[in-house]
């Protein structure tokens, strides 16, 4: 079966092709069936591959399937080949499973949109690119997938391009991600130059010999990878694009900006475990970037009032947890959290989409309340998701987050402390959403009366995801540790001895985590149900700090002040022709300056032959002066 794993890629590819060529002719209905069907077939293949991989002895659970010889340059060659091992199959399962459910949900959610065929073509293309990313057996193919998911993400954020906010968000995402991609491309070049191969197996086998542990090159490579990951996985300092990305359709937020694409950075770091083991300093960077992002984004999530934006910041925060895990070397824990998060965050987004659908697109939680009466199914599924996110014992997030914190406790105590605080915040904002949205009194009666439960095509995926959000946690029960044992060989092909943990300690920490989560829920109940004025009082007593958090730490403003404004002033001062309309955030400011430079470059082009020839003569003299005097 493993040899047929390429079918996983074939189905979404076919789907994309058919829908983009004949989509409008097939009609909405056919497309809405075809696209999910293709992803379902991929899922079936993934399951089959998983089962056959399980049937193999542990040391044979890594299979490469070469599709064709891609390129050969001398003794350097790259194949278009898939790597099927524990890690890639786990990822593929999560991607296809969540992806399929979101496709089904989309069929209901996007029903009224004019451009359903285009939407599904993009969505299938996304699955193709994401599977390419996780199944690649070399860095080059991984990069193909990496760029592919970025592109589709950009197209889907701007899917409703009539909204200027959506178009701007798309642009922002694109430019920020280019910065990250730039890091990955350079890392790939360094690997190619240093090791002479891009195949994972070769790289990981040779790297310890070529690059001594802690050497500068491997440090540079891993830091460049970290840069790439901060872009794709929305970590400090490149996280700014993700909250804006919520301008896209909600299922897209669920699929791309919560469950799959944004985890690509975590996946890549986990995949490059051998390299990160060689560069402990880079690992520390990863962990610290992760924990700071987690805390930072968690506090912002606490103050937001837009349901999707809360979830977006929560995603950034949870990705931070995954970074902590891969940073401290607990790769299996990171991937475990990645999988559980994929389920519960997709669930939360889709439930939020259901709420939004019911309230005619309203997302401000201050206008909601008591919705559990009107939307019972959505309420229960959202509750399960929130419980998982908050880390309530026996829900999936509890186990995975605990695994991460346990690893942090062993390696980096300060990281653990901030992590625990963040876990508390997580529980707080999770149940803030629940209480404010679904409990209490309705705040906007007109909206409330209008609300209605979503159709079954929407609720059924929610229920399945909810089941998943509970169950995925149990593959990683500390006592069983199935996922750890399953994944570990993928990170250390050499077969490093599994570390033995103190079970007692782990249990103690488990209890601590559970208590903290429950404390968070209790605090949320106190603050938002029992004593609704409490948040205001807290907010007042916090004074400036509160305002700081409320305004997202003024990060956008700081970017404006220190990056955009100086650049803009410089631009205005230099030419007085600066295009003000283009300025919207740091990225656009940068784009504006570049554009201004472009305008200057154009002014050189006067249309006169004499000046053209003069430029040539100048070049000639400069060239000769340089060459003759060397």
């Amino acid at each position: 079966m493993l040899d047929y794993a390429w079918l996983m890629l074939l189905f979404p590819a076919l789907g994309t092709l058919i829908i983009s060529l004949f989509g409008t002719r097939l009609g909405k209905r056919a497309v809405s069936i075809l696209a999910p069907a293709m992803v379902f077939l991929s899922f079936v293949v993934a399951v089959a591959a998983f089962v056959s991989l399980l049937g193999l002895p542990v040391d044979e659970r890594s299979r490469e399937v070469t599709l064709w010889r891609w390129m050969v340059v001398g003794n350097f060659s790259v194949d278009a080949a898939l790597l099927l091992d524990q890690l890639s199959i786990t990822m593929a399962l999560a991607v296809t499973c969540v992806g399929f459910l979101i496709h089904v949900y989309s069929a209901g959610y996007m029903h009224d949109d004019e451009r359903v065929p285009r939407y599904f073509a993009f969505l299938n293309l996304f699955i193709l690119a994401m599977l390419t990313l996780v199944l690649a057996n070399n860095y080059l193919l991984l990069f193909v997938g990496w760029e592919g998911v970025g592109l589709v993400s950009y197209l889907l954020i701007g899917f409703w391009f009539e909204k200027p906010a959506a178009a701007d968000a798309g642009k922002k995402a694109f430019i920020v991600n280019r910065v990250g991609d730039f890091g990955l491309l350079l890392a790939i070049m360094f690997i190619w130059t240093g090791i002479g191969s891009l195949r994972f197996a070769d790289v990981f086998a040779l790297a310890p010999q070529v690059w001594p542990a802690g050497s500068a090159v491997v440090g540079a490579v891993t830091l460049l990878m970290l840069l790439a990951s901060t872009g794709k996985s929305a970590q400090i300092p490149l996280y700014v694009w993700l909250p804006d990305a919520m301008e896209g359709p909600t299922p897209v937020s669920a699929l791309i900006h919560a469950a799959t694409m944004v985890t690509a950075g975590v996946y890549m770091i986990a995949r490059s475990a051998v390299l990160f083991d060689l560069a402990p300093a880079s690992g520390n960077w990863v962990a610290w970037v992760g924990v700071l992002t987690a805390f930072f984004a968690g506090t912002i999530a606490l103050t937001q009032t837009d349901l999707k934006r809360i979830l977006a910041y929560s995603t950034v925060s949870q990705l931070g947890f995954m970074f902590i895990a891969v940073g401290v070397g607990a790769y299996a824990a990171g991937i475990f959290h990645l999988v559980t998060h994929a389920f519960f965050k997709a669930l939360l987004f889709l439930s939020a989409g259901s709420v939004m659908h019911a309230l005619n697109g309203e997302l401000d939680i201050r206008k909601m309340g008591n919705l559990r009466v009107k939307l019972p199914t959505t309420y229960w599924t959202f509750l399960v998701g929130a419980a998982a996110l908050a880390g309530i014992p026996l829900f999936s997030g509890f186990f995975s987050k605990d695994a991460i914190l346990f690893a942090a406790f062993e390696k980096q105590l300060p990281v653990w402390i901030i992590g625990v605080i963040t876990a508390f915040i997580t529980a707080l904002y999770s149940f803030r959403m629940v209480f404010v949205t679904f409990w209490g009194q309705e705040r906007d009666r007109r909206l409330f009366n209008h609300a209605h439960e979503s159709p079954r095509v929407v609720t059924i995926p929610l229920i399945i995801l909810a089941v998943g959000a509970v169950l995925t946690g149990y593959i990683g029960l500390p006592a069983i540790s199935a996922i750890d044992g399953w994944l570990a060989p993928a990170f250390h092909p050499a077969g490093a001895a599994a570390e033995t943990h103190s079970v007692a300690l782990e249990l103690i920490l488990l209890v601590v985590s559970g208590l903290i989560a429950l404390a968070g829920v209790f605090a949320a109940y106190q603050a938002y149900m029992v004593d609704p004025d409490l948040p205001k009082r807290v907010r007042a007593s916090l004074g400036r700090v509160g305002r700081l958090v409320e305004n997202k730490y003024y990060i956008d403003e700081i970017y404006d002040m220190f990056v955009v404004n100086p650049l803009r002033d410089l631009g205005g001062w230099l030419g007085g022709v600066f295009d003000r309309r283009g300025i919207d955030g740091a990225v656009n400011g940068l784009a504006g300056v570049t554009g201004w430079l472009g305008a200057q470059a154009r002014r050189l082009q006067t249309g006169m032959v004499g000046l053209y020839a003069l430029a040539m003569l100048f070049g000639a003299v400069a060239l000769l002066a340089w060459l003759a005097t060397r």
Partner: protein, 102 residues
């Protein structure tokens, strides 16, 4: 005998005069004349080197002959172009021929 370097310096000077002429003129015909000066200066070089390196190798001299051929063909095409543009715009001043810029 005349030292080789004298020829070369004469050639360099003529070349630079040609370059300046091509840059300083506004009239397309004038520019073309400057370019012709440049090509001829190169020919002096080729011939002088031919004479110095050893006349039994004919390379320099033949190169010069080909350069003359090219220069003639170039002049023919160039002047035809100039006539064509004159017919269209009634001017051959290159500073007025600047519809495209930016």
């Amino acid at each position: 005998m005349v030292p080789l370097s004298w020829y070369l310096i004469l050639a360099a000077a003529l070349f630079c005069i040609g370059v300046f002429g091509a840059l300083a003129r506004r009239n397309a015909v004038g520019i073309l004349m400057g370019i012709e000066l440049m090509l001829n200066a190169v020919n002096i070089n080729l011939v002088a080197f031919w004479r110095h390196i050893g006349p039994d190798q004919m390379t320099g001299q033949l190169f010069a002959i080909f350069v003359i051929t090219v220069a003639a063909a170039e002049a023919a095409v160039g002047l035809a172009l100039i006539i064509a543009i004159y017919r269209q715009r009634n001017t051959v001043n290159v500073e007025e021929i600047d519809m495209m810029k930016g």
